[in-house]
Amino acid sequence: MKRDLVLSQVFRIVSYVVFSIILLMFVLVILGGIRYFSMSFFMEYPRNNMREGGIFPAILGSFYLMVLTFIVAVPLGVFTGVFLSEWENFFTKWIDVSLTSLSGIPSIVYGLFGLAFFCVALGFGTSMLAAALTLSLMTLPVIASATKETLKAIPVELREAAYALGATKIEVIFKVLIPAAKRGIVTAVLVGGGRALGETAPVLLTGAVFYSTFLPRSVFSPVMTLPTHIYYIMMAYGEKAQWMARATAAFLLIVVAIIYSLAFYLRRREHGRSH
């Protein structure tokens, strides 16, 4: 009994420590940057060697890139997840294992692959498209696995009820299973999106531009993004531009935190409903 009590105190303290570290990181990054927030920071282009102006093109670039990534990764990921869940056989198990290992590959490797395949072999050059495709490869396993897991968790009775009404397999999938799994899929999409938004290495190699005075005109234009912007500032400019890196980091962290909170909230509601 006494040992249990001591142990539970140890666990409690450890979890508080971990929480404090995360909190500290949040507070330091956000406090370090938030004081530079202003209308012009969000609405203007960087000027005077990043000493003045704002990060408008990077915000828009990151946004475009995320939308483009979703356009590719969401349908592919959802369909893959559906296939893995609803047509289980030796072949799909094999795909499943490959997908799991995909999520373990370091992002720089994705970047190199994207550079070699999308930029060079397919001739897309350093472009938003090449970056989005590379990021899609990274988020696809997240969306596919989550879709599969959510579908698997749907009780068999629900499928049978739909079949008993004379529904075909395709109708069961699109009209019952996907609507039932909607929240789980949206959660996965958000998690994948949050990850894609913060990715630096793959974008750096495939689609990022250091500085741009115009917005991307097509999917073949390179883009500025929030994480690569921070990277470039830190690598190329000195103290004078540091404020912009801090402010950008704070903004990126806030956006990602909002996305993850939303995902967490949806997941919790999902669980709340099924119990």
């Binding site: 009780p155 009820a161 009404l165 004379g166 529904a167 009209k175 609507p179 039932a180």
Partner: protein, 251 residues
């Protein structure tokens, strides 16, 4: 009397395990037929074989025949989805789809190609009325169906099955997850529905079978031991096993 379903020397297997043994019986139009028997006697498998709900289970196979209005249900050229429109099913646990009350009932008609909004409204209302649920939900047709009570959910599932205008309604222990009052409502409902539909119900509740069924089939270890009008089965069981089951000696 008019036979809707005829089961002839029907056996069902899961892999090597035989769960239904050489069953033959006729199911009559606009009657309630109850299949009773202890757990594992094959009654649910037999019921689910009627609308081919076991097809997707691994290792499932059948011998013998089931005819629906003279048509071989296991014939290779049978359009299963079309056939299932005629034979509705309600399950043990209520299975509302995660959508509104209205969309649940309209699900069947919609997948069978009905788009006209007014026609759908009409079908939904009729089905809910027949399932004795209309008065309780008419003001909240667009509420999520999962917010209804268990008993209401089960009646919703009945309404959903009725909306595709089946001829036969198969029910697999439809009240075993419900409280006594909801159970009573469903039993009364089934008696009303038997005026329009042929009803086959699997139940482990002997009293329920006696209350509502016109015919009782007693199964034991995969075999159909005895089948006949409810009164005959209850008052003059021919087989010793039937008597023992009814008096609670086996089960």
């Amino acid at each position: 009397m008019d036979v809707v379903i005829e089961i002839v020397n029907f056996s069902a297997y899961y892999g090597d395990k035989q769960v239904v043994r050489d069953v033959s019986m006729k199911i009559f139009r606009n009657k309630i037929t109850a299949i009773i028997g202890p757990s594992g006697c094959g009654k649910t498998t037999l019921l689910r074989s009627i609308n081919r709900m076991n097809d997707h289970l691994p290792g499932f196979r059948v011998e013998g025949k089931i005819f629906f209005e003279g048509q071989d249900v296991y014939a290779s050229n049978l359009d299963v989805t079309e056939y299932r429109k005629k034979v509705g099913m309600v399950f043990q646990k209520p299975t509302p789809f995660p959508m509104s009350v209205y969309d649940n009932v309209a699900f069947g008609p919609r997948i069978h190609g009905i788009r006209d909004k007014r026609l759908l409204d009409q079908i939904v209302e009729n089905a809910l009325r027949r399932a004795a649920l209309w008065d309780e939900v008419k003001g909240e047709l667009h509420k999520p169906a999962t917010q209804l009570s268990g008993g209401q959910q089960q009646r919703l599932c009945i309404a959903r099955a009725l909306a595709v205008e089946p001829e036969v309604l198969l029910l697999d222990e439809p009240t075993s997850a419900l409280d006594p009052i909801s159970t009573q409502k469903i039993e009364m409902l089934l008696e009303e529905l038997s005026e329009y539909y042929t009803i086959v119900i699997v139940t482990h509740n002997i009293a329920q079978a006696v209350r509502i069924a016109d015919y009782i089939a007693f199964m034991y270890r995969g075999e159909l031991i005895e089948y006949g009008p409810t009164r005959d089965i209850i008052e003059r069981p021919k087989h010793k096993l039937t008597e023992e089951y009814l008096t609670g000696k086996i089960g």
